[in-house]
């Protein structure tokens, strides 16, 4: 292998934006989940471990809007679930920010590629 200078173009800013976004998403999710964990140990001390049979989650922990409204009433499970939603949103926002980044760089082939990924991702989430 050769060892001359970096051929990758000005992607530096794009890289910084994306890594910053991932970091922010992950830290936000972690902080919310830690808060939820503290609430859980206060609200439900001595809960039994019962996951041997599948019972699905109650509806309030399965729908995005109920999770968000319940989280603001500080019910521990809803708060944790809200943190998980933030975690799930992070990769989607990462694709969105890459799309914007490639558009700023006027790299139209990659704007197209990223738009396809974003479209498939959104379709699979909302269909």
């Amino acid at each position: 292998m050769m060892r001359p200078k970096d051929p990758n173009r000005v992607e530096h800013t794009l890289r910084l934006i994306v890594s910053q976004l991932l970091r922010t998403g992950v830290i936000t999710a972690a902080v919310i989940i830690i808060a939820g964990a503290v609430l859980f140990f206060i609200q439900h001390p001595g809960t039994a471990f019962s996951y041997h049979t599948f019972a699905s989650e109650p509806a309030r922990l399965r729908e995005v809007w109920t999770i968000i409204t319940q989280a603001f009433t500080f019910r521990s499970r809803a708060v944790i679930q809200f943190g998980i939603l933030v975690l799930f949103a992070t990769p989607v926002l990462r694709v969105l920010s890459s799309l914007i980044g490639f558009a700023v760089e006027k790299d139209w082939i990659y704007v197209g590629i990223t738009a396809i990924v974003l479209a498939v991702l959104l379709l699979s989430i909302f269909l």
Partner: protein, 281 residues
């Protein structure tokens, strides 16, 4: 309950650490720990594993992207294959013999563990012959890159884009179909087929698995597979583990990483073959 949460946190720490070093995501450790270790129902295990994969991916990718190890363009380009594959896999789940396929995929993993171990001293695997079509795509999409190393950045070339793309589609189908194993096939596509340096393969796979997993997140949430109490220690453990793994990868020797990869996917292969056999019978 507190003891089990502590066990899950420790397991997740290991999952995030191994997942970020190998590019496999956190599911490799989480699923067997929950099902075999703690007797948790498979559906909760798969849901928790999905949470672990997204956490590993985002946690490690933040570091890898910043350091410039991830090949951003390859990642974005191949995500078209994995996301479309994932949607296709979920749609085909009712028709395909999913568990019989697990045996086949397990055997493929054993083979690539062997290839990885045999070539443990190489930064990137040897190229058999160049393909003009692949060359044209690589040039048009600017896929070649470089990554930081000592004493200076290493420049690398990308090969066999067509086959790599196809393998990525398989990885996507696999994650839509079974919810596991897609990280392993991503590393195989990047490392074994496209001949990227191992660190770049691992970092780029890590970068991609979060998006593939996010494509199934909505379905899993709606079906009630995502439990907050199981996920709580897993997310926190995996995040911490993946940050530690990412720090280590940057300095680690490729040889040790390849050996680690070979060991972990051998275990994953046995897990898949065993699961495939017990479920088809």
């Amino acid at each position: 309950m507190e003891t089990i949460i502590a066990i899950l946190f420790a397991g997740a720490l290991l999952a995030g650490f191994l997942g970020s070093l190998t590019g496999l995501g956190g599911g490799v450790v989480i699923v067997p720990l929950l099902t075999i270790g703690l007797g948790v129902d498979m559906r909760y295990a798969v849901g928790t594993s999905l949470v672990a994969v997204i956490a590993t991916s985002s946690g490690a990718a933040a570091a890898y992207v910043k350091e410039g190890i991830t090949n951003f363009r390859i990642g974005m380009f191949l995500e078209t294959a994995t996301t479309l594959g994932a949607v296709g896999g979920a749609a085909l789940a009712a028709i395909l013999p999913a568990y019989a396929l697990m045996i086949l995929f397990g055997v493929v993993l054993l083979y690539s563990a062997f290839v990885s171990f045999r070539n443990r001293k190489e930064e990137s695997l040897p190229v058999r012959r160049e393909q003009p079509f692949s060359e044209a795509v690589v040039k048009r999409l600017k896929l070649n890159g470089s990554y930081p190393a000592t004493p200076g950045p290493l420049i690398y070339r990308v090969f066999n884009v067509g086959w790599g793309y196809l393998m990525m589609a398989v990885a996507g189908v696999l994650s839509g179909l079974l919810g596991i194993g897609s990280g392993a096939f991503k590393v195989i596509a990047l490392d074994t087929i496209m001949k990227l340096p191992y660190k770049v393969s691992s970092a780029t796979s890590n970068f991609m698995i979060g998006v593939t997993a996010a494509a199934s997140a909505g379905v899993y949430l709606t079906k009630g597979y995502i439990d907050p109490v199981l996920s709580m220690p897993v997310v926190l453990g995996v995040l911490l583990g993946s940050l530690m793994g990412a720090r280590l990868l940057i300095r680690a020797k490729t040889k040790s990483l390849r050996i680690l990869f070979a060991v972990v996917i051998t275990l994953l292969a046995f897990e898949m073959i065993f699961d495939g056999i017990t479920r088809t019978i």
